[in-house]
C-alpha cells in the first residue's frame, strides 16, 4: 500500500497542499479530480518521491520513501507526467525501452522487447513501434509514453512480475480521442484487476466515476471529500469544488453515477 499522511507543501508563501492524507491500496483505482491549481500534480510528485513535502510522511509498504533508492522505486512504481518533451529522434520502441533501462543493463534483449510490445499493444500503439517519436501526434505520443510507463513495472507480465506495483498517472488521457480514452482507462482498470495500485488524475468526472474505485475531490490543496463514486458524487459537491451546476443521475447501463452539465 502506498500511504501519504498529513502532507503539507508550501511554495513561495503559498500553501499548495494542506494536510492531505491519501492511501493507494493494491488492486484499486484511486482517481483524483479538482479544478486547475488544486495541487493534484504536486500531490503526485510527492507520492512519487520526486519532491519531499514540508510536513508528513509517504510510505510504500511501511517503508518511508526517502529510504528507497531510485532503482528500487522504479521497480515498484511508474509515473506518467504531463507534457513530456523529447527533442531528439528516437523510434517508439526505444522510447518504451527507456522505461526498462534502469533495471536492466541490456535493455534491448528479446525478453525486454517482448515486454515493450505487450505494453504498446495495451495502449493501442503497436503499429507505431518503428515510427520516429518526434513525428507522432499529441495523442499518439501520449499513448507511447503510457506504454513506457506500463512497461517500466511490467504490469502485464506473469504473476510474480506484477506483484506490489503502483501506477501514478497525471492526466493520462488529456489529448486522446474518445475511443482511446476508453481503451486506455480499460487498460488501467485491467492492470488494477491484476493487482496494481493506480493513482490517476482525471478531468472528466464521468470517466472518473466509471473507472475509479474511489474518488478524491481536491480544492485549494485540501481534500474536500473522498469515497466511492456512488457514495460521494452529488450536485452540491460538484458545485462546491468546480463551481458549476450539474445534475447527477444513475448511469443508464453501468453501476455508477452519471453527471450532466446543466
Amino acid at each position: 500500500m502506498l500511504v501519504a499522511e498529513k502532507i503539507c507543501l508550501g511554495r513561495n508563501g503559498n500553501q499548495i497542499l494542506d494536510d492531505i492524507t491519501i492511501s493507494v491500496p493494491y488492486a484499486k483505482v484511486i482517481a483524483v479530480v479538482g479544478p486547475n491549481g488544486a495541487g493534484k500534480s504536486s500531490l503526485l510528485s510527492i507520492l512519487s518521491g520526486a519532491i519531499s513535502p514540508d510536513l508528513g510522511t509517504i510510505r510504500i509498504d511501511g517503508i518511508e520513501i526517502q529510504n528507497w533508492t531510485p532503482a528500487n522505486l522504479s521497480i515498484r512504481r511508474a509515473v506518467l507526467s504531463q507534457n513530456i518533451q523529447l527533442d531528439f529522434s528516437f523510434n517508439c520502441l526505444d522510447v518504451v525501452l527507456l522505461g526498462r533501462s534502469a533495471q536492466n543493463i541490456n535493455a534491448s534483449s528479446n525478453a525486454e522487447i517482448k515486454i515493450a510490445e505487450v505494453a504498446l499493444e495495451k495502449t493501442d500503439a503497436l503499429h507505431l513501434i518503428n515510427r520516429n517519436y518526434s513525428s507522432l501526434s499529441g495523442g499518439e505520443s501520449q499513448r507511447v509514453q503510457l506504454a513506457r510507463v506500463l512497461a517500466q513495472i511490467n504490469c502485464f507480465g506473469n504473476e510474480i512480475d506484477r506483484l506490489n506495483k503502483f501506477l501514478l498517472l497525471d492526466e493520462p488521457i488529456s489529448s486522446l480521442d474518445l475511443k482511446h480514452q476508453q481503451k486506455l482507462l480499460s487498460t488501467v482498470r485491467s492492470a488494477a484487476k491484476r493487482g496494481v495500485g493506480v493513482f490517476v488524475i482525471l478531468h472528466d468526472l464521468n470517466l472518473a466515476c466509471m473507472f475509479a474505485d474511489e474518488i478524491y475531490f481536491l480544492k485549494k490543496g485540501a481534500v474536500i471529500k473522498k469515497g466511492t463514486p456512488a457514495q460521494v458524487v452529488c450536485p452540491a459537491l460538484v458545485k462546491d469544488v468546480f463551481e458549476v451546476d450539474v445534475c447527477v443521475k444513475p448511469h443508464p447501463i453501468r453501476d455508477c453515477p452519471h453527471i450532466t452539465l446543466l
Partner: protein
C-alpha cells in the same frame, strides 16, 4: 470485413518485424563502415606528408617496432619520421577527435539540446584561458617537479578551467531541472567573451616568443606533438571516454527530462555531476594539447544521429569512431592544403563547422514553423 482487418494486421505485423530486423542488421554494418573510415584515415595520416612512405614500408617499420624479425631493409629516415613524428601525431588526432566528439554528444544529452558543443558553450575557452595563464605565467615548467609531472600541469589546469566554465553554464542555464536553449547559448557567449578578454590581456602581456606559441595554439593545432604529451593525456581521455560510453542509458533517460529520469530509476544529480566532470576532463586534456578545435563536438554527433537515430548507446561510441576519423582526415588536409606550411586545424574545422551550424539552425527553424 472483420477477416480482412485481421489479415491486414498480420501483414502489417510482419512488415514491422522485417523493418526492425533490418535495423538490427544494418547497425553493425554501419559501425563496421565507420571503423573502416577511421582506419583508412589513420593509415593516410601515417603515409602522407612531405615525405611519402609506402604502406608496405609502414608495416615493416611497425613490425620491427613490435619486435618481429624483419628481413628486408628499413630506410632509417622513414623509421624516424613514422615512429617519432607521424605516429604520435596520428594518435593525438584519434584521441582529440574522439574525445571532443564524445564530449559534444554527452553535453547535448545533458542539456537535452542538439546545439551544445564544448567550444560553443564556452567549455573550451574556459579551458584555454586556464591553459594560457599557465603558459604565460610559466607555471608549467617548475624546476622542482620531475619532467613527467610537469607535462600533467597543463592538462589539469585546462581541466579545472573547463570544469568551472561547464558548471557556470549549467547552473545559469538550468532552472528546476529544465535547461533553456537560448539561456545556454547566451551564457556560452558571455563566458566566451570573458575568456577572450582574459586571453587578450595575457597575450598583451606576453613576450614575442610566447606570443607566437600562443597564437598558433589558440587557432588549434596538432603540430609539435611529442610522445610525452600524448602519453600525458591518453589515459585521461581514454578512461573518461570509456566511462561516458557506459553512461549511454543514463543520458537516454535524461533526454526525457530530469524528473522522468528519476522516475525511470536513475540518480539524476549524481549522474549530472559525473557527466560534467568527465566532459571537463576530456575537453581540458584535449585543449591543453591542441588549443581550441571547434565544431567537432557539434558536427560528429549530429551526423551519427542522422544515421543511427538518437539512442546514446550508439551515438556515444560511434561519435568516438567518427570523430577520430574526421579529425585525422582534417589533419591530413591541413598538412597539405598550404604546403609546405601547415594550416592550423582549428581554422579548417571552423570553415566546415560554421556552415554546418547555420544549416542546423535553418533546419530547426523550419521544424518550429511546422
Amino acid at each position: 470485413m472483420e477477416k480482412n482487418i485481421g489479415r491486414d494486421d498480420v501483414i502489417k505485423q510482419r512488415r514491422l518485424r522485417l523493418s526492425k530486423d533490418l535495423i538490427y542488421f544494418l547497425r553493425p554494418c554501419l559501425i563496421g563502415f565507420l571503423i573502416l573510415i577511421m582506419l583508412g584515415a589513420v593509415c593516410g595520416s601515417l603515409v602522407f606528408g612531405s615525405v611519402k612512405i609506402p604502406i608496405s614500408q609502414m608495416f615493416i617499420v611497425f613490425g620491427k617496432a613490435l619486435g618481429f624479425e624483419i628481413l628486408s631493409d628499413i630506410v632509417r629516415r622513414d623509421e624516424v619520421i613514422l615512429l617519432g613524428i607521424r605516429l604520435p601525431r596520428t594518435i593525438l588526432c584519434v584521441l582529440v577527435g574522439g574525445g571532443l566528439a564524445i564530449s559534444g554528444a554527452a553535453l547535448q544529452g545533458l542539456f537535452r539540446n542538439p546545439l551544445a558543443d564544448p567550444s560553443l558553450i564556452g567549455v573550451s575557452s574556459g579551458a584555454a584561458l586556464a591553459a594560457v595563464s599557465i603558459i604565460v605565467l610559466g607555471v608549467n615548467d617548475l624546476a622542482f617537479l620531475p619532467n613527467q609531472l610537469n607535462h600533467l600541469i597543463l592538462p589539469l589546469g585546462a581541466f579545472t578551467g573547463g570544469l568551472v566554465a561547464t558548471l557556470c553554464v549549467y547552473i545559469i542555464a538550468s532552472y528546476q531541472g529544465k535547461t533553456s536553449i537560448s539561456t545556454m547559448l547566451l551564457t556560452g557567449i558571455a563566458i566566451n567573451a570573458l575568456a577572450s578578454a582574459g586571453l587578450g590581456f595575457l597575450i598583451f602581456s606576453s613576450d614575442d616568443q610566447q606570443l607566437r606559441d600562443l597564437n598558433f595554439w589558440l587557432l588549434g593545432s596538432l603540430a609539435g606533438v611529442t610522445w610525452y604529451k600524448v602519453l600525458a593525456i591518453a589515459p585521461i581521455v581514454i578512461v573518461a571516454s570509456t566511462f561516458l560510453v557506459f553512461l549511454g542509458r543514463h543520458l537516454n533517460a535524461l533526454l526525457l527530462g530530469e524528473r522522468e529520469a528519476f522516475y525511470i530509476g536513475f540518480y539524476v544529480e549524481k549522474t549530472k555531476i559525473v557527466i560534467i566532470v568527465l566532459v571537463a576532463l576530456i575537453t581540458g586534456a584535449c585543449v591543453a594539447l591542441t588549443g581550441i578545435i571547434g565544431f567537432i563536438g557539434l558536427v560528429v554527433p549530429h551526423l551519427i544521429r542522422l544515421i543511427f537515430g538518437s539512442n546514446n548507446k550508439f551515438v556515444l561510441p560511434c561519435s568516438v569512431i567518427l570523430g577520430a576519423g574526421l579529425l585525422t582526415t582534417a589533419d591530413i588536409i591541413s598538412r597539405h592544403i598550404v604546403w609546405p606550411a601547415e594550416l592550423p586545424i582549428g581554422i579548417l574545422t571552423s570553415c566546415v563547422g560554421g556552415p554546418f551550424f547555420l544549416w542546423l539552425i535553418m533546419r530547426q527553424k523550419r521544424y518550429q514553423v511546422k
